[in-house]
Symmetry: C2
Subunit: 201 residues, 2 copies
């Protein structure tokens, strides 16, 4: 866990090993969860030497931390539809598509669970969401500039409000994750924005 | 996991053993999470015979399932403040107080994580939230009857919307759980109710 992925030449051997190991780790996490993540099995699945995996990632938590870093690097760029409503609908749709994707949905459940069990993983999880929320924040600030949201509206609070009902269904209630829920999450956020609920105090 | 707690005479020996074991299980879950839950340790902490704990609860998942059942039995009754806004503010405050309580907050993180890792625990977790959401649903139906929400407003969707931003902070963003967030969650739900967003389609 000492290498800086930014310094790795893309396509180089180190980058290829990392990609294979993180892919295997993600597959195992999605399939069986954090509690069953085993470095020897990850090495075998990735067709990488066991020693390499233990030396570079050390522990299951180290592996999940690096996986979250890679996920942050590949974070989907913000929408830019020209309206705040359009951008928030795109955001809700992206969260929906991610959480309902068979592999991704299970992977997110596993890394969120891992974050509750291990402090270093929790830091990595927060950092992943920080990157995601920062990437999409300009949707809100652009909306403020266009007069579609009151001055002082907090982008992070708005984006959290859009995503929260979808994560609640995934992790808590088990209610279906569908297009209606995604649209409702974005539209409800627009209602609350208009009422000035997200103006930072 | 075959006994029906409803059939246990309150205050009887069986009920006392169950209470002690579930208290110990909750303490260990809050302290160290689901991955570290050990039946022998639970028995020692509860001062109950190891054989009793293994025979009655079988596995850590069996223990968490029964704990969630007990939590559902002790679920806080709905508020009845006389207004929908008042009831939703009370609901948001209850969720906030629960998730920010040192023991309860960690316990909820642990059981939610356990629900992602074990199907039987997931069923028990859903059942706990079903009980909670059903208990508070009359706040919304009473509000509809008083003309404070459009006819057809879905109680479960409203209550999920109130709780979701708080769970999002607990599990995902790590942003502070404070009174402002709770009030905002309730007020934003009121905005969306007024706009007809929660009318079941």
């Amino acid at each position: 866990m000492t290498s800086d992925p930014g310094s790795v030449r893309p396509g180089g051997r180190t980058a290829r090993v990392r990609a294979a190991v993180l892919r295997a780790a993600g597959d195992l996490l999605a399939e069986r969860g954090f509690g069953a993540l085993d470095l020897t099995e990850v090495a075998a699945l990735a067709e990488v030497g066991k020693t390499t995996v233990y030396r570079r990632w050390g522990t299951p938590a180290g592996l999940v931390t690096d996986l979250l870093l890679a996920m942050a690097e590949e974070s989907v760029p913000r929408a830019d539809t020209g309206t705040l409503r359009g951008d928030l609908l795109a955001d809700a749709r992206l969260v929906l598509d991610t959480l309902t994707d068979a592999r991704q949905g299970r992977l997110f459940r596993a890394v969120i669970a891992a974050g509750t069990a291990d402090p270093a993983t929790e830091v990595a999880l927060r950092r992943f969401y920080d990157v995601r929320l920062a990437e999409w924040a300009p949707c809100v600030t652009d909306g403020i500039a266009r007069g579609e949201a009151p001055v002082g509206t907090d982008p992070r609070a708005v984006l959290s409000a859009v995503a929260a009902p979808l994560y609640y269904r995934l992790l808590i209630s088990g209610d279906p994750l569908d297009g209606t829920t995604a649209v409702r999450a974005a539209e409800a956020a627009m209602d609350a924005i208009a009422a000035g609920r997200f103006i930072a105090t």
